[in-house]
Symmetry: C2
Subunit: 369 residues, 2 copies
């Protein structure tokens, strides 16, 4: 773990760059807005976005029922930090990982997904050996074409296997339409979630029709959660990025009825070189941002554009009419994609009114296993 880039009470100018900075006012409004808007459902925010126990606890304090994460080691980091209800919204099949999940289930409510019989057997054996119970959800493919069984009979067969397996408790269906989150057109998102919800409804009906309780249909992300909320099918919602937002979510066109979230996450960088009036180099490049969803956006600095990155350098193009840029000038940058960018840092610097109010460890950074 690297040294902290700031101390509580520091002014903005004292933050060492590059640093991951959260605007606390915007961040808290995002948390409140989501909590208020999901009171009729269970909110289980996705902690893969922030990987930070401080933020998970702020979500629980506002009424979240628990959190999601994607990896066994993330779940371990959050349980170690005091979280008591974690759904690993992913298939975990390796014996060593399944054994760790079962150990965590001795201390917390742990859920996990299956989409094939070997997963059921591995989880059952591990839970039985640890004398504990693991909550299991069947993942159905509702259009993302990633993991998941087809909606309908395949899911019912898995539910049957789970209820017969010692140490497992069948809780319901994971029905996350990941491919819909970044569809730009709101009508395309609406159609995708309508289809996903129909698949989930039909599958739940077949399971319930077979006499098996199916407590929860869970899923949704920041790009579509209102659609799942209003579907009449999803009991539980899993948005993650809403706490921060990013440049790519900013490119989604919102429907008039959509609630908006504010950009709260920035990388604060410094100009380290001004080789020419039209070009400045900042100290944040490929190791300070994830570039999978495009380049960072310059925030609040007229005429400057982030145009190119190398490992530790970012090139800003400075427009002919822009105010001149100076050595040491601070530049606020909006990441293209928040989740994998956060995963590059050990600390989140939380600021309000120009002062550092918190320096939060990102406990699950690099938790790949």
């Amino acid at each position: 773990m690297q040294r902290t880039p700031a101390r509580i009470g520091d002014p903005l100018e004292a933050i060492e760059t590059p640093a991951l900075v959260v605007d606390l006012d915007a961040f808290e409004r995002n948390l409140d807005r989501m909590a208020d808007a999901t009171k009729g459902n269970r909110l289980r925010p996705h902690a893969k976005s922030h990987k930070c126990a401080t933020i998970a606890k702020a979500q629980l304090a506002r009424g979240a029922v628990g959190i999601c994460c994607q990896k066994t080691d993330e779940a371990a980091a959050f349980v170690d930090a005091g979280l008591r209800d974690v759904l690993v919204s992913n298939e975990i099949v390796a014996p060593s990982k399944v054994a760790r999940l079962a150990e965590l289930a001795q201390r917390a409510t742990i859920g996990v997904l299956v989409d094939a019989l070997p997963g059921v057997a591995a989880l059952s054996e591990a839970a039985s050996r640890a004398r504990t119970v693991i909550d299991v959800y069947v993942e159905i493919d509702v259009g993302a074409h990633r993991c998941g069984v087809a909606p309908g009979p395949s899911a019912l067969a898995l539910a049957h296997a789970i209820i017969r397996a010692p140490g497992l408790r069948f809780r319901g269906l994971q029905a996350y339409q990941g491919a819909a989150q970044h569809l730009r057109d709101p009508e395309a998102r609406r159609a995708a979630i309508a289809s996903a919800a129909a698949d989930a409804r039909r599958t739940r009906e077949s399971i319930v029709g077979a006499g098996i309780a199916c407590d929860f249909v869970t899923g949704a992300g920041t790009g579509t959660w209102q659609l799942e909320r209003d579907s009449g099918v999803y009991d539980e919602l899993q948005p993650g990025s809403y706490v921060f937002m990013d440049a790519d979510y900013g490119r989604n066109v919102a429907a008039p009825s959509e609630l908006r979230f504010e950009q709260s996450l920035y990388v604060l960088a410094s100009v380290m070189s001004v080789p020419a009036a039209e070009r400045a180099i900042v100290d944040a490049g490929l190791k300070a941002f994830s570039f999978d969803s495009g380049l960072p956006l310059v925030h609040g600095r007229a005429g400057a554009e982030y145009v190119k990155a190398s490992d530790e350098h970012g090139v800003l193009s400075i427009g002919a009419d822009a105010p001149p840029i100076a050595h040491g000038e601070r530049v606020w940058l909006i990441p293209g994609h928040c989740d994998p960018t956060v995963n590059l840092y050990d600390w989140i610097v939380a600021v309000r009114s120009g002062v550092v109010e918190g320096v939060w460890p990102i406990e699950a950074r690099g938790a790949l296993g």
Copy 2:
């Protein structure tokens, strides 16, 4: 820092995935090959690629004069690990960082670049306050159009400022042509380095002509180092990626005379879901690779192609004629770009003949400051 994904003596099957794995035989051949081929020059490998003191020490044991890195915190990690000659091949201007560099210079030979007068003043003040000496190189822009002053008179003016500045020792010129490293055509690389070398030669002559000693011209990367070596201008060579290689370097077309390095770096992943015969999902996605230079390549597995990533998932397309892929199957993947991929991991698992021989901490991972 996350738990280690393996223990010394483990067989490959016991490595937890996703893991960053080095094939030790190929890795050591790469180190030997570069050491042998640069005996007539100073080799100062770039440690930004590996961020790992174990590897830096293996390079020194083969004759490297020291290492490069890009960040103050990287330099601190390497000095703390026992390295005694570190060139920060970058402009460092923030007062807190310059002060840390001066502290490091009390314990090790520390070099750094300047491309403007404010950098000279800041370094001189910090070195004087710490009663130490910092080695300073003038960076000239030899075609990468990132940092650096123009070759010629601007560089001479900076050299004059450095030799007059207390606490600083002018050592020479940094002349790195980063933009040439990934030019696919060997003739284009040759032309770019010929131009860079001419710029460096002319600048050195003007400095020496003014009565200032200019001990070293330093630079070069894995894509071009033979050209700098043979230029008659570069005293010192800074390649980094040659220890690992990656998919993007693999796309460079080699001239017949070019020495080749072997792929030694892999991400070992596991199949977590096989939703259809033509599609398998592995446990390594946007947080397990940097995607700035393209998708990972599947190694040694016929008919499988890595076609898509989300945060924690990679989608493999399985060809119709390929052997069927199974739950839990291990897949070896070649990263698109080695440097920022290594920066995602806390550990390198070093394997030989199917057994884990070392688990090396990546001390400077996340060293952004």
